[in-house]
Amino acid sequence: MMAGNELYVGTAIGLIVIGFVAVLTRRNLLKIVLGFSIADTGVNLLIVSLGWLPGRTAPIVDDPSMFSDRAALAVNAARVVDPVPQALVLTAIVIGVGVTALMLAYVIRLYAVGGTLDVRQFGRLKW
């Protein structure tokens, strides 16, 4: 039985680093894009895990009794996990999707103009 969420955090960090490894060392543009989405996933997992509370449930009030009076609400409040990180993660995911989409579009055009997916072939502008 784990005291906290080391597992999630550890995995998240692991994903981030793996993603970065791909980003920094792979030459294939597509793999770099993948690396970014892996890292994003890691971050998202981390954010969700920040809101996680042991032994609590999803922040949805599904039981009519819960809605009866304020006391019950307080009780209910003690039953749910933090909804905010989930909201944030939702946004984060969508943003991630957006960036990935744009990156892929770039990659398509880079391939079109460069005839290759090797990132090192696209460093002509320098100094």
Binding site: V21, L73, P83, L90, I95, V99, A101, L102, A105, R109
Partner: protein, 233 residues
């Protein structure tokens, strides 16, 4: 060489991040979260607190979120506006069964997606999830048949109008409820756990769903046809 430096650096970074683990450990609800948890239901009559947060408390974020998606789709289309340099190679035509199956499945998928975003304030899920599901339907079609005709006009109209709807809802809030995206005085909050409850939340989420669905569909379409000659905007 660079590779090694990179790996070493990232290892160090991992250590650095791991030192944050103690912060990440569970520790009750924050002040804001506490309020959401306690009064969320009363405030919006929405069963799904996440949805209340997403659409109402932090609705402005969500508007931004929609904007991001919209922007990245336009951006992708903009980047792909040039079509030179890509040779079109026709994939092997999918079998009759696959194509028929895809067309068969399309309707239920869209229906399911719609269900998801319409019930966003009651059940897990919402506009984005629903929209994604709808788009997956389109994806299925396009995978089965690259040249499957899509109603571009319809899509872009939906895209624009739903987005406009979101903004309009927000302005309605400003007009009726005193602040942008306010969930007061526009629609009755209704009773908890009814489909028609939680004020404008389901409306907004519907707009979001439609917008996300149509946008992702457009995105898929644009990417699929990045190499085609005809330019459609």
């Amino acid at each position: 060489m660079k590779q090694i430096v990179a790996v070493v650096a990232l290892a160090t970074l991992a250590i650095l991040l791991w030192q944050l683990a103690p912060i990440a450990m569970p520790s009750g609800l924050g002040v804001v979260a506490q309020h959401y948890a306690e009064h969320g239901v009363q405030d919006n009559r929405g069963a799904n607190l996440v949805t209340s947060v997403v659409v109402n408390y932090r609705g402005f974020d969500t508007l931004g979120e929609v904007t991001v998606l919209f922007l990245s789709v336009s951006g992708a289309a903009f980047v792909l506006r040039r079509r030179t340099g890509l040779e079109v190679h026709e994939p092997r035509r999918a079998s009759e069964i696959v194509r028929t199956g895809a067309r068969l499945l399309f309707a239920p998928i869209v229906l399911f997606g719609t269900y998801i975003f319409v019930h966003g304030h009651l059940t897990p899920g919402g506009g984005f999830q629903g929209g994604a599901v709808v788009a997956s339907g389109v994806l299925l079609l396009l995978l089965a048949n690259k040249d499957h005709p899509l109603p571009h006009g319809f899509l872009s109209w939906t895209e624009s109008l739903s987005g406009l709807g979101f903004v309009a809802a927000g302005l309605a809030g400003l007009w009726a409820g005193g602040s942008f995206l306010a969930n007061r005085g526009i629609l009755p909050l209704g009773t908890w756990n009814q489909l028609f409850s939680a004020g404008v939340i389901p409306v907004i989420y519907t707009f979001v769903g439609l917008k996300v669905g149509s946008e992702l569909a457009t995105l898929l379409d644009v990417m699929m046809h990045a190499a085609d000659e005809e330019v459609h905007q």
